[in-house]
Amino acid sequence: MLFLLRRILFYLAAFIAAATINFFLPRLMPGDPVALMFSSAGSELPPESLEALKLTFGFVDGPLWEQYLTYLSSIFTGDLGVSVKYFPLPVTDLLGRALLWTVGLVGTATLISFALGSFLGMVAAWRRGSRLDVVVSVSAIFATSIPAVVTSLVALFVFGFTLGWFPTGYAHDPALDPSFSLAFFASVAHHAILPLVTLCFVLTGGFTVTMRNNMINLLGQDYVVMARAKGLSDRRVMVWYAARNALLPTVSSLAIALGTVLGGSLVTEVVFNYPGLGNTLYQAILARDYPVIQGQLLVMTAAMLVSNFLVDVSYVLLDPRLKGSG
């Protein structure tokens, strides 16, 4: 398990490094949130209130290293500070409420895309050159090359505005309180369809292409040919000999995809006004809400690390060749 130990060490180092970047980035940012809030409030706030605002948010001055140490210790205690925009809501609360939606939406989308993409890639590669292959590969190319912004906007326009089949915002009908009722879940599903489909559209292509390429490379492998020579059924050869091995490298792209889940598909969430992490981050950036930005980047990095770690573990489980090593 030396392999995993090394990885864990790497993750720890990476996390600290990321946290450090995280700490210094906002401090390079022009304009502090109070000034921004003050100016966005435009003519509404009398200039006198600026002082009150500064007091309210009590931006700690003091030596940078001291701030840094406080920050580091706060990370490990899980105290990410208080949002400026949603004062005095703790960042963890804010992220917490967005987290669920994002994990639900983007997580589902990623898994569906992964499954669907891998399946399509597998079949396309198996039936190389067939009409199915042509259709699948060409549509995969198309899907991957169209920016998410475009896809989301067009979907919103066509299905949201023009046809009115789907709601154009929210994670569920605001009239319903979250509960374990059928109506509530139906509403959640109804609201999730459009962003979900858009996300899948954007993500599936990539998985399909990777899988197809991996598969094609593997189909020439002797063990696949031998499996065919053994007279095994096509299904068995395709799934257990070719796809099983082709999937291994795809798993790492799944890791990256899963890791970015918490970034949310920012664009999709923004366009569909989905109350997830991406949207939260976007709003935080617009409002220069440092604590939220910091917290969010941290959470996302952590997520990325965790999912990478899970993939490392699953690699060891999936690929017997790695078991012996280390």
Binding site: A229, K230, L232, W240, L318
Partner: protein, 267 residues
Amino acid sequence: MSDALLSVRNLTIDYIGAETDFRAVDDVSFDVAPGEVFGLAGESGCGKSTIAFAVSRLHGPPALIRKGSEIRLAGRDVLGLDKRALADFRWREVAMVFQSAMNSLNPVLRIEEQFYDVLRTHTGCTRKEARDRTAEMLTLVDIRPERMRDYPHQFSGGMRQRIVIAICMALDPKLVVMDEPTTALDVVVQREILQRIDELRRQRGFSVLFITHDLGLMVQFCDRIGVMLSGRMVEQGPSEAIFRTPRHDYTKRLWASFPSLKGGVLG
């Protein structure tokens, strides 16, 4: 030879290109008698593997077996088999050992599983029966049966090659095609393996279609040899004859390029 086990007639195979075709095998005919070891010799790229693949119908696009070609195994028209018959035919009638043992076992499945795959597909036996058979087969190639629960990477190259051979024997096929089965191995291991195959063949009576570019080895191992040159079969005959009295110019040249252990060259 009407009682041939494998009979290949006028076999012509093209690799289809975007514009022009590449003729890899050109009008090749030969027979393999039951229990016989038939060798296909020739330089790299002359079409040996292409023939081997055709015999077990393993080709995929862009290979094309031209019409007029004929392959018969124990009287059955191999090229005419439909999908189902083909699945049944493979391995039960013709089994195959590939060039590199390193790669012909699925790295993520246990050895046991890879045996079971074959046995279940063809005989529909239970796991228990399959395990017994696997043990039997592994013993046959000097590998301890307990190791069936290991993964391929846990074996050495020579062991893996023997495992492949064991899998080949699992269904007692009539013909075993061996496409350069020992190129990656050193001479001592190669010798061990070929000797083992030779013994098994004697015990079980299957025929072997043996492919290598090492003529010296081929003469030692095969009963009859066909020499190929860029897709054509230029000479065919008992190995003794190919060695002692080669007729075709190309065969003679081949021998002339073998240095001899005794000094000088063989030819």
